[in-house]
Symmetry: C2
Subunit: 356 residues, 2 copies
């Protein structure tokens, strides 16, 4: 097992990464009552094992199973979770265990952030995307019809248990979607990690356990360092949104579903690389490396066909848009992100280039 610590003073917490960890009662910091929140795909696979471990850790367990998929990340499902917590009479000492992917983590984390003004929660991410991304940094949220993640809170978990064995049951497409965020960590923050990914992409796609553990660990290290420096995203944390302004627009345009989040981010990263070239920051050869790496991961490099107006409209809803002018996360070089406003004409040219 590998462990790293997200350093946030009294909100610091460990991320444990390894194989077979979900069964280890000693990794769940809880007692009293635990509410396991999971979805109807993950529940048949892992709920019984997690329940057993949590009970062995000394807690009474209630569980809430929500539907699979992004549609579940709304007020209706959130209220189902609250109903269950309240009818089970859970008090402030209860702990929520989020067992599942990013949707479950965001939803259960937001429930924990707001139930009785905040209770503890433990993340047990079962997708690669959740292991490398949402498990670090405490962002929780639900969607609103007018935008993704529009309602949320910063709420750090007490612990993260990332069991790469649970990735054995992950569909290929979702594994690849998770690799998009892994690639993002390299591209935005660490050129050496990009090189490692170029050498090890085949192993990752073949679910080589050691390669997966390294990719999860390095992603979490990179993200944890950023979060420790800027928990509330007032500066460098925005670098983690590399590719996301375009990615969110793709998800919104296609109705949150046809494109997985990681697929939309993959395409968004290619656009952002093209934009970085057009803003005269990035060498064209590096943009080509990004595009090639995304393609090798089996991820889409081309965005869906949308009118220029539609792109701008969708991006103006993005949270990163302050006072109407969209600031983009661009690359000065592989592994070196920066944030700056860009003229709309360059954005359209970058989208056009990515679509080639």
């Amino acid at each position: 097992m590998e462990s790293l610590r997200v350093a946030l003073a009294e909100r610091s917490y460990p991320i444990n990464i390894g194989a077979g960890l979900i069964d280890r009662a000693d990794l769940y910091p809880l007692r009293g009552t635990a509410a396991i929140v999971t979805n109807d795909v993950v529940a048949p696979l892992y709920l019984a094992r997690v329940r057993k471990a949590v009970e062995a850790a000394g807690a009474r367990v209630v569980d809430v199973t929500v539907p699979d998929g992004e549609q579940a990340k709304g007020f209706e499902t959130l209220n189902r979770v609250f109903d269950r917590l309240l009818t089970s009479r859970l008090g402030r000492d209860a702990v929520i265990v989020a067992l599942g992917g990013g949707v479950v983590g965001d939803l259960a984390g937001f429930a924990a952030a707001t139930y009785q003004r905040g209770i503890d929660f433990i993340q047990v991410p079962t997708t690669l995307l959740a292991q490398v991304d949402s498990s670090v940094g405490g962002k929780t949220a639900i969607n609103h019809p007018l935008g993704k993640n529009m309602i949320g809170a910063f709420h750090q978990p007490r612990a993260v248990i990332s069991d790469v064995q649970t990735l054995d049951t992950l569909p290929d497409r979702e594994l690849r979607a998770g690799l998009a965020e892994v690639i993002k960590h390299g591209v935005a923050l660490d050129a050496a990690f990009v090189e490692w990914l170029e050498r090890n992409m085949d192993k990752l796609l073949a679910r080589d356990r050691d390669a997966l553990i390294y990719a999860v660990r390095r992603s979490c290290e990179l993200k944890a360092a950023i979060v420790a420096a800027d928990e509330r995203e007032s500066s460098v944390r925005a670098y983690l949104n590399y590719g996301h302004t375009f990615g969110h627009a793709i998800e919104a345009a296609t109705g949150f579903g046809p494109w997985l989040h990681g697929e939309a981010v993959a395409s968004g990263m290619v656009i952002a690389a093209e934009l970085s070239v057009r803003a005269q920051l990035l060498k064209p050869a590096d943009a080509a490396r990004i595009r090639a790496l995304v393609a090798r991961a089996g991820l889409p490099v081309r965005p869906p066909a949308l009118a220029a107006d539609r792109w701008h409209e969708l991006m103006s809803h993005d949270k990163k848009a302050a006072a109407g002018r969209t600031r983009f996360i661009l690359l000065e070089a592989l592994g070196r992100a920066r944030q700056m406003p860009v003229e709309p004409a360059l954005v359209e040219a970058a989208i056009g280039a990515a679509a080639q």
Copy 2:
């Protein structure tokens, strides 16, 4: 104008108390966009003045008017606020101005806590209850059918503007309900303030401006000191809940409405004083002084008639109940609260004594 500061490191904020303050643009720390959240009783009285001051402070203004009353403090109204913020395209730099009483402050504060994972807000409390209680400490929440304030967050305002002139339009009954929390601050935290209240109750009921400013100021000072020591209510902040476990039960039993919050707390304080006597902590003469002070403020001293089972059931839903056993805030003396578990039989006896 009197000013005091709630000391919470980087979340510290000023509370300004005086007459005519809502018109002073310099007291609103904002620019960019402001969303004024108010209700349909307060809007005709003060919205235009606050809007003018906020615009003079340099902000574009949108406003959201919600229905008056506790019923508005739920998911439906919260979503109306979010809809307005999103359709107005408010970004993370927007500021919410909560203009109204406790319901508006709690609702708008929770909207600010969770909109795009948290934006700034300014409290402009227009009831005595809100000026002496909810304006200090950052508790925000909405109600759930199964319990009051069950969903919420700790989110400190950037500033509080307490204009005692706005109390001129407050109905007598609401003025008295606010006095319940003023009395609570004395009874739980400061015997000298109890004496001041015994000497000045007539002036307060006559809305003497200087007396009101002193009562608001001293309440805020007492509460601010507690909040600075224990922001998240892990220890002494619980003392501020004196009378509230019983008060919440009364509100829940009567359906949130017939008893104002302050009236329920007033009755709850009398029960808690009787319970403190029965737990052999408080002198009977001091319990009698509390009862007399509550009565002089024109507040109810007797609880509604409920079966013992119903009391226990309602109190077990209280957030302060950990693992099924209810801990009560009791008094060792006037101005000296403590927290301890109590046998159910004593609770029933105290309720019976209060009902005499």
